[in-house]
């Protein structure tokens, strides 16, 4: 990986009137790196993307893309970027081929027509009008148009929404291939599995702030690495396994699953209890995300309660 960041964000702020959508976030993305920007709806992901794509002036802090201000110098760097928006329209009366041909004229060294269609598996609908495509096919056409110019930096806003699992896997393979060629990707997604699979670095945003940031392993590790689940007909003491919501099913997050399991099994042997459906699993990004979002919601509710 190169050492000079393609994207450098420092204390970025975005405001809409009195509403602070992004409140001082910092991160960087290097060539060949996939950076996942995660968060609930309204967390500030799209506002951040808007600034980096050059559509919005920052309200504070700085954002540099290819070393320049993406808003002021957008025309200088636009040909080096590919953008796949979350929602954008097509000319429904044009066929897939006509659309790709038109977009090829926008770039200096585009992918070939057949190459682009094959890349996203749209060869069979090449002569179908875009208005007749399924949602998944339109999303794949979206991707084809975004990468036509072989960009060095690709912005992907919810790239696989509406795709079936097979098409999603195929899209991941395409993206992996591009990243192997040196392309950097800034990705937002609601699929944590997707972020975990593709991203080298992730940042979880909540209410305009980054609340977790690092490699996927670091982010998962920082939030207690494993989850132990089981059920027991005999009541388990609180100091052994916390409180079960329904009195039977327990779920523990564990930094040291070996020690926690030893304690749990020791208690079960002494008490003559049988632990059913005992399972230890490594936490996923989704677990972390849900916990972070839950914690932040709770914090917000507490803060709101105190204000009252």
């Amino acid at each position: 990986m190169g050492s000079t960041p393609i994207i450098q964000v420092d204390e970025l702020r975005v405001r809409y009137g009195g509403f602070a959508a992004v409140q001082g976030i910092s991160f960087s993305v290097r060539p060949g790196e996939v950076f996942g920007l995660l968060g609930t709806n309204g967390a500030g992901k799209t506002s951040t993307m808007d600034v980096l794509e050059g559509f919005r002036r920052p309200g504070g802090g700085s954002a540099r893309v290819f070393g320049v201000d993406p808003f002021a110098d957008r025309e200088r760097i636009a040909h080096r970027m590919g953008i796949m928006l979350q929602e954008a329209g097509f000319f429904d009366d044009l066929t897939v081929t006509e659309t790709v041909r038109a977009w090829r004229r926008f770039t200096a060294d585009p992918l070939g027509l057949d190459e682009a269609l094959e890349l996203v598996d749209l060869g069979k609908v090449a002569h179908t009008r875009v208005g007749k495509l399924s949602g998944g096919e339109r999303r794949r056409l979206d991707l084809a148009l975004a990468v036509l110019g072989r960009p060095e930096l690709l912005f992907l806003d919810e790239p696989t929404t509406g795709l079936d699992p097979q098409a999603r896997r195929r899209t991941w393979a395409v993206l992996e291939n591009m990243v192997a060629g040196g392309m950097a990707i800034l990705l937002t997604t609601h699929y944590m599995e997707e972020a975990q699979y593709l991203a080298d670095q992730v940042a979880i945003m909540d209410r305009g702030r980054i609340v977790r940031h690092g490699s996927v392993a670091e982010v998962i590790g920082a939030d207690h690495g494993s989850t132990i689940t089981f059920s027991s007909d005999v009541p388990v003491p609180v100091e052994v396994a916390g409180v079960a919501e329904d009195g039977r099913h327990h779920e523990l997050t564990s930094v040291d699953p070996q020690a926690d399991l030893r304690r749990l099994i020791g208690w079960a042997d002494d008490a003559g209890a049988r632990l059913r459906d005992l399972e230890v699993r490594r936490n996923s990004l989704e677990d972390v995300f849900l916990r972070v979002a839950g914690d932040e919601d709770e914090a917000a509710l507490t803060a709101a309660g105190k204000e009252r």
């Binding site: 429904d92 094959e118 072989r150």
Partner: protein, 285 residues
């Protein structure tokens, strides 16, 4: 699976503004002709009126001392240019509503290249219609060749530019493409009947004769009529007299006021566009 590598090992380059604009023009034209009903309406109605009205007056009536058909001809050239407003408003509002402008902005195309390509596409039919009307005038009406072809060209291009820019400017104030047609149509009729296109301003109610001279269509018609007929229709557009003849430079001098007014309308349109134009219906800019 195709192996795709970005252009990291070779410098990727920008195509340049004109290439981008031309690419947008080609795309806009392709889409325009795909909606054949709308495209043919834009060809047949202006051209039908542009040919029909002068043909009906040719050899029958004299307007301001000139054969009716020949007098109407440059006016109808102005009328077909007014149609640009329809084309550009329609494409701007419908593409904004369908989030197509949002997508186009995600390409390397500069904003100005997108809008210029769109405006050129919305204008090209009208400019071709001007040429067709010119040939019709020469062949059927026996009209003389334009007295000042350069001024005629300036009038056509500046008029087309003004109407296209005006359409872009007001499109931000219009809700949807369907509704915008109903809002724009009365203004187009106003421009058709109050700009000296089909009858001289001197035949309008006295109190309207001065205000209507400030319409962009009035300025275009004054320039085209002066350039085509070689008489000063610009210095005093409301006169019922046959205007005096003007030479090459004199005709430019006579048209300074309408040329200036068109520049003012361009300024107004830019201001409207800057303030109200929306690339994305969900956003304010």
């Amino acid at each position: 699976m195709t192996a795709l590598t970005p252009a990291l090992n070779r410098p990727s380059r920008s195509l340049g503004w004109w290439r981008y604009t031309w690419s947008q023009f080609l795309l806009s034209q392709k889409v325009h002709w795909r909606d054949l009903g709308f495209a043919l309406t834009g060809v047949l109605i202006p051209l039908g009126l542009g040919i029909g009205l002068p043909a009906s007056q040719h050899g029958k009536n004299s307007i301001a001392g000139i054969d009716g058909g020949v007098y109407l001809l440059p006016g109808m050239m102005g009328f077909v240019l007014v149609w640009i407003v329809y084309n550009v408003v329609n494409s701007a509002t419908s593409r904004r509503g369908k989030l197509i402008y949002k997508r186009l902005r995600g390409t390397p195309l500069p904003d100005t290249a997108i809008m210029t390509g769109e405006a050129m596409s919305g204008s090209v039919t009208s400019v071709v219609q001007v040429v067709v009307l010119g040939v019709f005038g020469l062949v059927y009406l026996g009209a003389p060749a334009p007295a000042n072809p350069l001024l005629l060209l300036v009038g056509v291009l500046l008029g087309a530019f003004t109407f296209a820019l005006l359409a872009v400017g007001v499109s931000g104030l219009l809700p949807t493409s369907e509704v915008s047609t109903w809002i724009v149509t009365p203004f187009l009729f106003l421009m058709m009947f109050a700009s000296g296109i089909v009858f001289p301003l001197s035949e309008m109610p006295h109190f309207l004769q001065v205000p209507v001279q400030y319409l962009p269509s009035s300025s275009v018609v004054e320039i085209l009529r002066t350039a085509y007929l070689g008489r000063d229709f610009a210095s005093n557009p409301a006169t019922a007299q046959l205007p005096h003849q003007v030479g090459f430079l004199q005709s430019f001098r006579a048209c300074l006021m309408p040329l200036g007014l068109l520049c003012a309308w361009i300024g107004v349109s830019l201001g409207l566009g800057k303030r109200f134009f929306k690339w994305d219906p969900k956003r304010s800019s």
